[in-house]
Symmetry: none
Subunit: 217 residues, 2 copies
């Protein structure tokens, strides 16, 4: 019988997972935690074979850092990450920091069971619904090495003007007319923003703008 700890900031999710895990004859959920620090403390107390953990548990320490800390001190604890994010970046980081399995919250319940069975056999497991391309892995490794911590403040005055307009859906032409400059200049600003902030698509720009409150809703 393997003892399982469930870590998720949402009690409902903990209940759901606990129910699923307890249905398995060789697993039992012994506890639940709602934050990274609490999870670490609970693992420290011993008796945990498998940890099923969400990556995002605001506020406070997130699942990724907790994964790293627990894996360093208690390498025997198998960590299964249960996340809503299916971007390659999250998966890579989780696996690189000590996770043995990565499954999606949107996947059928059977994925958790599969992950449990794999990790107790010492095998890694990736959600069957995750599509991984070699190109993606290359891109992550390429961009991950060049860290830019400057962020938004590294943008110039003009770039800061252009940014929200892009996020709001204005075309290069519309922006150029609004600012009385050529579309070529808009292109330049746009490219500089993407380069400085390591954003590679319009979606990235929109998300960044939203999260940094460059646009109001």
């Amino acid at each position: 019988m393997y003892n399982v700890l469930v870590a998720d900031d949402h009690a409902i999710v903990r209940s759901g997972i606990s129910y699923l895990v307890d249905l398995q004859s060789n697993f039992t959920v012994v506890d639940g935690t709602a934050s990274g620090t609490d999870t670490y403390i609970r693992v420290e107390q011993g008796g945990i074979d498998v940890l099923i953990m969400d990556l995002s548990m605001p506020p406070g320490e997130n699942g990724l850092i907790t994964t790293r800390r627990i894996h360093d001190k208690f390498p025997k604890v198998r960590i299964i990450i249960l996340s809503m994010h299916e971007e390659q970046e999250y998966i890579n980081k989780a696996m690189a920091n000590g996770a043995m399995a990565y499954i999606l919250k949107s996947s059928p319940d059977t994925e958790i069971i599969k992950a449990l069975q794999h990790v107790i056999n010492g095998e890694k497991y990736l959600d069957a619904n995750i599509i991984v391309s070699k190109k993606d892995i290359k891109e992550i490794n390429a961009s991950g090495n060049t860290l830019n911590l400057k962020g938004y403040n590294s943008l110039s005055k003009r770039e800061k003007e252009v940014f929200p307009l892009i996020a709001l859906g204005y075309s290069n032409k519309e922006i150029s007319e609004k600012m009385f400059i050529s579309t070529k200049t808009v292109e330049a600003h746009k490219a500089n923003i993407s380069r400085k902030l390591h954003l590679h698509s319009r979606v990235d720009l929109v998300q960044y703008a939203i999260h940094h409150h460059l646009i109001d809703f």
Copy 2:
């Protein structure tokens, strides 16, 4: 015996809620859905007394707009919103658009049970962990937060899926890959949305999506 429909984009969460609800002697979960449009279609088919729904179900129609649509057409269906957001703004909008209860995902499971019992008695219910002032309650009852869905309802299911993706900045190609259709089909959906809602630019689309809460932030 009351029939419950559970709507959440994460299968794990649906399982957890279903488990909890089925433990109650007078409630039974009859179905689960993962998107706003699917939820509406399921309610349309009948036999649903209570709907427990997440506010955020990307991509596609979100829970708020689905609440409004279902409440307009099927006012007898009691809607319980289960959300990760505890900001007053979300609560106000949900209640103003037809929800009978609002509970937090981070609350203990007992909150769902309390909400169920209240709504079948025709009473509204707010999560006990939410701090509400009397002033806030007045604001909840004010009608400023209600959505107007004249045009939106003329969109087809597929168009409602494409719309938020466009607003979030996805390119035709990215949308086509996400939905496993050709870029030509995406173009067709896009053109139909613009025609039906009389929106002529991407900015218009984004603004409409924001004001009608088609996208979650």
